[in-house]
Symmetry: C2
Subunit: 423 residues, 2 copies
């Protein structure tokens, strides 16, 4: 059933029905914020036993003999480096464990490149008209960091298997002003795409025109599966070994959506050469991050298996939420051919492609009925979605019931917006 | 008794005796690192009950209804802002509570000034030949931050009541390339000097030539008294109100030497105008700091009185250590007129002024007998103490007995170095 082929009477009836349904929603005075990928209280509760992990009588001495309570150990305690290394399949000494924010580590890498330059290159603040590749739709906070340092954000379309690598290679290998690229390789924010092995290998094989080009590989969701038998994508670090391009990658990870969004631990994995510079420059700004929280995490999980077991508990909470979103979209919008969406195997988002020109209106309609979504356009550099089509649905925080209600409203708003487009 | 007036025989005898005593020390194979102002294990143990402050059953919802476990609340939880505000005598909404490192907050302020400029001024990265005032002797990590951003470090002599304010005013009020000044107003690192009210008032009254001039007021030791009735210096924030210069000050504080050096909380206090910019720019790099650790601190202390009570326990551990250092200096060096030192009322250091040209040699001699001190020169910009005289003694970490032994060695090394100077 294509709306555009319906009779004026049918359209009129649908308009009336959807308007009435919408008014009923407004009367409910919903108040729900789904703008961000926040874990739910139930997810956060999974980690509360961590509060008992360290008692006042416990030793906080690392296996290297360092006191977690005192200054020092700027790259993180060895136990935490091993844990993260095990999860990422990289050596512990190529892991730097920091505070609670991987975004801050990404920012640190930008700051170093901007103020001091990467590996002896001219600092970005002394180069002109630099560019940064941004697969779209993508993550607004990524874009904001690159924009903050004055780099021009270049959108690169995401495809079913990762970013358009022909376009990426064209930019990276020919234009020395292209200094880097954002990647969320597993359950990409918001598309849920997992980069194929071929794409990972093409990224590793890039021969950048700029020697200070870096791939910011934000592996935020590498263990955030909602299905039982997830794909196991090729590791970028393994691919880079084939091509000798280890220095091109900064890989970020955190436990923000594993333990606590507000009090997890974050880490960056990089080659020894990159690590030498990074450690040196970070040493100017801090005498070390919170090592007690690092130890708390190590003791809570024990090892990487402990982490993956913990993630199954998250999956059990998240699966019904992803299901309800897909179910409602299939039920309400598929018959009308209104938009398209991904069915992610993990991560935190469902990416909805609305009929062209409808996204802003849908978000506005939801807002006016009490549901705040991620602003339309936020998934594009400068907030500019040329099709005004992409909407990021963040299903993790609300309860299943609230989410079902919200998705009813959402689908209704899609219909209203689509009906408004018909002259 | 002046060494230079002694007979060659007396000098020869002293040389022999000190050399023998030194060899005896070397035979002991001491291994002690006093390079840094680290709290001792006994001090760290004082805070271990904090590990029980939050149990798995506890709510972690702030009084504003925010969940400490989730994302958000970028400026810190209101409970922590009130606690720090109470300690500093400033409004809670002029406090930004962050992670575990005040040094990092200082770095953040530099970074913002460098990459984006303060309050609309040209970013420092686009201005040439900038300068930063550094009271000397001072703190090497402070100097390193300003140096990292390419500012020329200008030494300003510390006097008994604070930095030489005539020199400061001369620079600040006439030279627009002077962009800031380091201050440790209470128990200055390493001199132990407390700025007098007159000095605080003169700082507040400065009329900088550069409108992006800022005083980095590192109030690291504001509650770190070792005496019972400490002086209560004029608050810079109160002084600035007199002169309308509130925007000129960034005030930093942390609990690194109150709770855990590795896992405390840090904060910056600034005017509302400064805070607006700072919050906005910090919002690019993080979605918020570790709020659980902020809440842990709030619950552990309850209020500012809880903090000052806790500090008395530190004082009880530190007083005997400060005493032993002073006692040994008085006993061993005073009769020979070898050098001078301060008798601090708090803080973490004792500043020793060796006979000119002896500091490096003393540190080397201590090192070769197994005791690592802060490198001579470290308390001056670029490691350059023109008199080769200042040595920072950090008495907090060793036990009283080990410290007595170390000070024996230290005094011996001073004598050897002084004797070597006599032709």
């Amino acid at each position: 059933m294509d709306l555009k082929l319906q009779s004026p009477e049918t359209i009129e009836t649908m308009r009336k029905e959807t308007r009435e349904a919408y008014e009923a929603f407004q009367a409910m005075k919903l108040q729900l914020n789904m703008a961000r990928g926040n874990p739910s209280p139930e997810q956060l509760a999974l980690t509360m036993p961590m509060m008992n992990t360290i008692s006042p009588e416990d030793s906080l001495i690392t296996e290297n003999g360092e006191d977690c309570r005192n200054y020092g150990v700027p790259n993180g305690i060895v136990e935490a480096k091993k844990l993260i290394g095990e999860l990422l399949g990289v050596p512990a000494d190529e892991v730097f464990v920091a505070g609670n924010s991987s975004l801050q580590l990404m920012f640190n890498c930008f700051q170093i490149a901007f103020t001091h330059g990467i590996a002896g290159s001219t600092p970005w603040c002394k180069q002109e008209d630099l560019k940064f590749l941004c697969p779209v739709p993508g993550y607004d906070r990524h874009f904001a960091v690159a924009d903050y340092f004055g780099l021009k954000l270049i959108p690169v379309p995401m495809q079913a298997d990762g970013p358009d690598m022909d376009m990426v290679a064209q930019y990276v290998e020919n234009d020395p002003s292209v200094k880097g690229m954002w990647c969320v390789p597993v359950y990409s924010n918001p598309t849920g795409v997992v980069y194929s092995d071929a794409v990972v290998r093409r990224i590793a094989a890039l021969k950048p025109a700029a020697k200070d080009f870096r791939v910011f590989w934000d592996n935020a969701y590498c263990i955030h599966h909602v299905v039982e038998n997830p794909v196991t994508p090729l590791r970028i670090t393994d691919a880079c070994k084939e091509f000798g391009s280890e220095d091109m990658i900064y890989q970020f990870v955190s436990t923000s959506k594993v333990t606590f969004a507000g009090a997890g631990i974050a880490a960056v994995n990089m080659s020894k050469a990159n690590m030498a510079q990074f450690s040196k420059e970070m040493g100017i700004q801090t005498i070390g991050f919170d090592k007690i929280n690092q130890m708390r995490h190590v003791r809570f999980f024990g090892n990487a298996k402990g982490v993956t077991e913990h993630m199954k508990k998250h999956a059990a909470l998240l699966k019904p939420k992803f299901d309800v979103v897909i179910e409602m979209l299939e039920q309400e919008l598929k018959p009308l051919g209104l938009g398209s969406w991904n069915v992610p195997q993990g991560g935190y988002f469902i990416s909805y492609q609305a009929p062209k020109g409808c996204a802003k209106r849908i978000v506005q309609l939801c807002k006016e009925a009490g549901v705040t979504l991620t602003p339309a356009g936020a998934t594009y550099p400068y907030g500019n979605d040329p099709d005004d089509s992409n909407i990021r649905i963040a299903p993790t925080y609300p309860s299943v019931d609230a989410l079902r209600k919200t998705m009813e409203l959402f689908c209704l708003c899609v219909k209203i917006a689509a009906l408004e487009q018909i002259k």
